[in-house]
């Protein structure tokens, strides 16, 4: 019996090994197709999608893949496929350990590539790793638009991955003199982690002429930075029939989380929230209202 079980186990493990070996073999052959310049772009893109497992198998394979990525003579779509494949491979942190250095160095090269999409993708990957090189380039671009590698709104978005990225003053400058609406919005999103920006968000929240999206960002930011300030204004927002549902929902969350028992005695407020909970608002907003009522309502 024991012998049978052993045999079964060993056959299972042999099958598994064979399967793994076969997968690796096919990944390697995919990689050789993907890096072969004589194949069509379509064939190469399809092959590169299957290659991540083989990327770190040998230094030669890795270098071939990195060459595709950095070679400006290669078709852009093939280079993007190589980048995608490398990115997928990098998720296996341990297997990718030997490739990491070359990969990062190549990403830094591609971050200044003439192709804007590749540039943006490479900067995005580096920024997520809080890479100092990428942050420096992005900040330089915000201060000097002639040097910008990506549009300002994208630069701000990428810098916001790292709260320590020294981006607050650049974001403030953009809020004061925005090159476009998207850049202003992203600058405000970034400043939502800056404790000293609370007065700015309070002003934006109370400005009914402000864009709805901006007021929503302001409400969320205030909720995170100075919840007591949002509470102060939440009641007025909830009583105002003309205000937006999403801003009301954020106000409700603030009151539900941080409000005191006196709210249960505020009949006008309760009535208004009750109306909101059964009105035309989206169900997720109505849910916020119900949560509030279950805490403070009768």
């Amino acid at each position: 019996m024991v012998t049978k079980r052993k045999a079964a186990t060993s056959s299972k493990s042999a099958n598994k090994n064979n399967k793994n070996a076969a997968t690796k073999r096919s990944a390697r052959s995919a990689l050789s197709v993907g890096t072969n310049t004589r194949r069509t772009a379509k064939e190469r893109i399809a092959a590169l999608a299957e290659a991540p497992l083989a990327v770190c198998e040998s230094d030669k394979d890795l270098q071939a893949m990195l060459n595709v990525l950095r070679n400006q003579d290669e078709p852009v779509e093939v280079r993007l496929a190589a980048l995608k494949s490398l990115q997928a491979a990098s998720f296996s942190v341990i297997a990718f350990e030997s490739c990491r250095g070359d990969y990062l160095a190549t990403l830094r090269q591609v971050a200044e590539d003439p192709n804007p999409e590749l540039r943006q993708r490479a900067l995005g990957l580096l920024a997520r790793k809080k890479d100092g090189f990428a942050q420096k380039k992005l900040l330089e671009g915000l201060k000097n638009p002639d040097k910008a590698l990506v549009p300002p709104e994208k630069a701000l978005q990428l810098l916001s991955y790292d709260v320590h990225a020294e981006a607050y003053s650049a974001a403030r400058a953009i809020v004061n003199k925005p090159p476009n609406d998207d850049a202003r919005r992203e600058a405000l999103r970034l400043l939502a982690a800056d404790a000293s920006a609370a007065p700015l968000f309070e002003k934006l929240l109370l400005d009914k002429n402000e864009l709805r999206e901006i007021r929503q960002i302001a409400a969320s930011a205030l909720h995170a930075l100075k919840p007591e300030k949002l509470q102060e204004h939440a009641r007025e927002i909830l009583l105002d029939k003309s205000d937006y549902d999403d801003i009301k929902a954020t106000s409700l969350t603030a009151l539900t989380q941080f409000g005191d028992e006196a709210l249960g005695k505020d009949k006008a407020l309760l009535k208004s929230v009750d109306r909101f909970s059964v009105g035309k608002a989206l169900s997720k907003y109505k849910q916020s209202a119900r949560r509030f009522l279950s805490k403070y309502g009768q």
């Binding site: 230094d59 942190v93 341990i94 350990e97 030997s98 990491r100 250095g101 070359d102 990062l104 160095a105 830094r108 090269q109 809080k130 100092g132 090189f133 942050q135 420096k136 790292d162 709260v163 320590h164 990225a165 020294e166 981006a167 607050y168 982690a193 800056d194 404790a195 000293s196 930075l225 919840p227």
Partner: protein, 399 residues
């Protein structure tokens, strides 16, 4: 020291030129160590990545001129808690210029290797602020392996650990095999092993100094900070005097947005372990503990509470997580904190813990390298006994 505003307004190239000038002048080299202090005005209002470039350049200057005993703690700190590839590589290189390689340096190098191996990346030491865009240069792992080779037989305590890095499955990448082999060979250095014996003759007494003790009569007063108001994890207000006077306290500093798991998160986790040790000895009611945030504008009570809870910190009236409601200036001055800021956000800080005596004065400080929970509790008990012996003396005088 130069005027703080002038200093912080200097550009990075100006700073780099200054560092080079100091390094070139044998009479001023001691100032390089001073430039590694986190609270140096040079680091005021700079971003974290800028500070990495600046400190890295100082470490590289020290690597050229030689690490002094005073600078050693900064180098070891980077190896112990650093997670930035450039700084760890620079520190590893700097350590090789220390004139007294000893066996107690090896664990720092090995710890750095374990931390940085999955963050390894090419670094460039050629010019100030340069980032590597090819993998031909050095990396922190390569620098650390070279430092182990430099330590030679002094690193025999970590030899087994190093050899395990050659393993196929869990080891370092194949391309580093030559560097590992070189280090292993140097450590084995068979002929010298027997001669080494105890090699602590040239180490600063007690190893690298991360602890300072102030005798009773030399402690700074608390007049300037007594009235400082804190808000705790529950939103309750308490003054410095109310919380810290009347019994000894163990105080650590942290902030919830710290991105280095080897610093704040670990420090607060260790505070939880310290609390357990105090509890086991029946001292949880006689010695207070506090974790004070460097980032009071952002670390509101709710955030403090969740951060402490997630790390197993016991929180009640005697054990609190605190934020200073009037900002950090008073605290920085009183504790001489190793921290700097860009606006209200921390841009760099050291690991630091303090034991306050019964008057709230700093009696013992622990800084930069890993906090030993048992050591902190032992020293806190000594400070507690100070209180008892003082009371006894006072009672005898009355008799």
């Amino acid at each position: 020291m130069q005027n703080a505003t002038t200093v912080s307004a200097q550009s990075e190239p100006q700073f780099a030129a200054l560092v080079d000038a100091i390094a070139a002048d044998p009479d001023r080299r001691g100032q390089l160590t001073d430039l590694l202090r986190e609270d140096h005005p040079f680091y005021h209002e700079r971003g974290a990545a800028t500070i990495v470039r600046m400190r890295g350049w100082v470490l590289l200057a020290i690597a050229r001129t030689g690490v002094s005993d005073a600078a050693l703690i900064f180098v070891l700190e980077e190896l112990d808690t650093g997670i930035d590839a450039y700084l760890v590589a620079a520190a590893a290189r700097a350590l090789r210029s220390y004139p007294h390689p000893t066996e107690n340096l090896a664990p720092f190098v090995m710890r750095a290797l374990a931390t940085i191996r999955y963050r390894d990346e090419p670094v460039s030491f050629e010019n100030y602020g340069e980032y590597a865009v090819s993998s031909t240069g050095t990396t922190p792992v390569r620098e650390l392996l070279a430092t182990l080779a430099w330590l030679g037989p002094h690193a025999r305590g970590v030899l087994r650990e190093l050899e395990s890095l050659r393993a196929r499955s869990s080891g370092l990448p194949r391309k580093l095999r030559i560097d590992i082999d070189r280090a292993v060979q140097a450590i084995r250095g068979a002929d010298q092993v027997e001669e080494l014996g105890s090699d602590t003759c040239c180490t600063p007494p007690g190893g690298p100094r991360n602890t300072a003790y102030w005798p009773l009569n030399s402690r700074c007063g608390v007049e300037t900070i007594e009235a400082a108001v804190f808000e705790d994890h529950q939103g309750d207000l308490v003054t410095f005097k109310e919380f810290f006077r009347g019994q000894p306290s163990i105080v650590v500093f942290f902030y919830t947005r710290c991105g280095n798991p080897m610093k704040c998160s670990l420090t607060v986790t260790k505070l939880a372990r310290i609390q357990k040790l105090l509890e086991a000895q029946g001292l949880a009611d006689r010695i207070h503990t506090a974790a004070i945030t460097y980032d009071p504008a952002f670390d509101l009570p709710e955030r403090l509470h969740v951060y402490g809870r997630d790390r197993g910190v016991r929180m009640n009236a005697r054990h609190r997580l605190l934020r200073a409601t009037d900002g950090m200036d008073l605290l920085c001055a009183h504790f001489k904190l190793g921290v700097n800021f860009i606006e209200s956000l921390v841009n760099r800080h050291r690991v630091e813990a303090y034991i306050l005596d019964v008057e709230g004065r700093v009696a013992v400080s622990f800084e930069r390298i890993h906090l030993d929970e048992q050591q902190i509790v032992t020293r806190a008990i000594e400070v507690l006994k100070e209180k008892e012996s003082c009371s006894r003396i006072r009672a005898q005088r009355i008799d």
